[in-house]
Amino acid sequence: MKDTKARILLIGAALLTAAWPLSWAVGLIWNLEPTRGLHYLAMGFTFVLAVGAVYLWARHVARRQQQAQQFFEMLLRSEPAQLARLAAGTEPFPLLPSNPWFASAQEFSERFAQNCSKLQQAEQSRTALEVRMRRGTGRQEQIEAILAGLAEPVVAINAFDELILINPAAQSLFEADEKTAAGQPLAQVLHCERLVDLLIEARRRKALVRRCEIELIDDEGDSRWFTATCCSLAPSEGDRCVKSHNGHGTQNGHGKPAGAFAVLRDTSEAKAGQKRYAEFVSAVSHEMKSPLAGIKAYAELLADGDADDPKTREEFLAVIGTQADRLHRLIDNLLNIARIEAGMMNVSKNPISLHELLSATLDIVRPTAAAKRITLAAEFSPLYLAVLADRDLMMQVAINLLSNAIKYTPDGGRVTLRSKAAEGEVQFEVDDTGVGLGEEDRLKVFERFYRVQKDRHMASGTGLGLPLAKHIVEDVHGGRLTVQSTLGKGSVFTVSLPAAAQLV
């Protein structure tokens, strides 16, 4: 609009400016005398018009520049949404189409809008990546924490047989420090050839899982057994170019494992358990052969007719009977121990009166004590003591302890059965004036088949009475069985049990 106005004014001014010489020319032609006043009027009018026209044109140009300036200011404020609308044409463009910069401004704003949206997308994906990375880091920290907390030693190597992971358990086993061990060649850190060979083999052969038994000497000089499971590590997505720790990079071909890891499981306990079991079986078979030897020998003597007179025959038959009983007791005790250990015992616990149980036990062992003229005394607590126990099993414990006391007390001695209440516990103890136990024997007396050598002549026994009692008290009832003793003076075996709720 302004443009047109200015054009018109410009043309008018041009015409009027030209009018002066034109009028002079016309006057000349028609021989008219131009009036000086009219002359000056025309001149002045022309001059004003010219100035006006120039002014308008200048203003027009300035306005265009102003628009352009506004446009760039708008760009500086960088509002991508607005720019997008401009580009789409939904918002009025600050520049007029007549503006010579209009086309480039439009193109520029389009490009700018595209770039802004690209930037926005990049920003979004960066945020998403950051979130993922943080989650991944958190996950990695979790996994590292798990590895650190594992009791199993774990080691891992990269494609160059350098250590990339050695968890705290492995560090203490191989006496390695994490900082110094990382990146070291495997064989330098692990001084176990078998394990090193296994890891390298696992790395070379993809998806191979190998197990082997290895023996290592730990820092205390003890031998420990492990089962090592080795597996190859699959190459990750970004592992196209794997760099070794000393800086050389190589291409990691597709399909080649990027390393291997090994997890060690401590089987020392299991092995020790196997050894103990083998020893136990051997001990049991040995123990059983003694009574069997007696039975076979006397049976053969009888069969061969070596027993000439009835008295000898009776004697031999009696021995066979005794030995058979001994074997029977041995087997019973063994079965009980085995059943308790396997948790197969039919245990029915009820609240029972301790004193009732102990009195019944005393009645059972009284004849045996009387035969050796041993005084059986009962010192029970005045309180009513109740325990949650299996009556038969607890009675077995009491019988075992009392008969031991009677066996290992010389004739004329004294065996006392006491009961008392302690904090939250109920206790009963068997106190004898027998041969007592030396310190070494006292510690070993609850071991299976352990029988004090020097006292063997005092009584026959399977060596299982005390282990069985200990099992029943501790494993089945959650109590304690302890012994105190003075060699030559006597022993006190104490059973402590958790107290049941007081029954009125």
Binding site: S282, H286, K289, S290, L292, A293, G294, I295, K296, A297, Y298, E300, L301, A303, D304, G305, D306, V319, T322, Q323, Q453, K454, R456, H457
Partner: protein, 148 residues
């Protein structure tokens, strides 16, 4: 003159059975309850044959054998070993290290024990008491038939 034998075992039943069998066959048999008592008996009066158990209190079978071998007067004493424990391992060690003549596993047969003893003494023991000779005769003719 009957040969003297020393029996050494902590199991009284076994001791009695072996003693019964051997003395009926005419041997002079002494008994000891453990290795230490056995050694004391050997020192007191040297036997011509030692039959000992392996597992005994105070001094076990190998300990007793060691003492016997290290004591010049008894270094050549014939030894028989009875045992309920790991037979094969014991056999090798006993024979190699202690010159034990034979190892008999428990449960053992008193009859076979007697035969082994007789083999060791080269059957000269049959020149003993008459009942022993008779028993011997019965043994060799009818090894497993009881005498009426």
């Amino acid at each position: 003159m009957s040969h003297s034998i020393l029996l050494c075992d902590d199991d009284i039943a076994i001791l009695r059975a072996a003693e019964f069998k051997l003395s009926r066959a005419g041997y002079e048999v002494r008994c000891a309850n453990d290795g230490l008592e056995g050694w004391q008996e050997i020192e007191r009066r040297r036997p011509e044959l030692l039959i000992t158990d392996f597992q005994m209190p105070r001094l076990d079978g190998f300990g007793l054998c060691r003492r016997v071998r290290e004591h010049p007067p008894t270094a050549e004493l014939p030894i028989l070993m009875l045992t309920a424990k790991g037979f094969e391992l014991l056999l090798a060690r006993a024979v190699e290290d202690y010159g034990v003549l034979a190892v008999i596993a428990k449960p053992f047969s008193p009859r076979e024990l007697l035969q082994t003893v007789q083999r060791i003494f080269g059957d000269e023991s049959s020149y003993g008491s008459l009942p022993a000779m008779a028993a011997m005769a019965v043994e060799t003719v009818r090894p497993s038939r009881p005498t009426p």
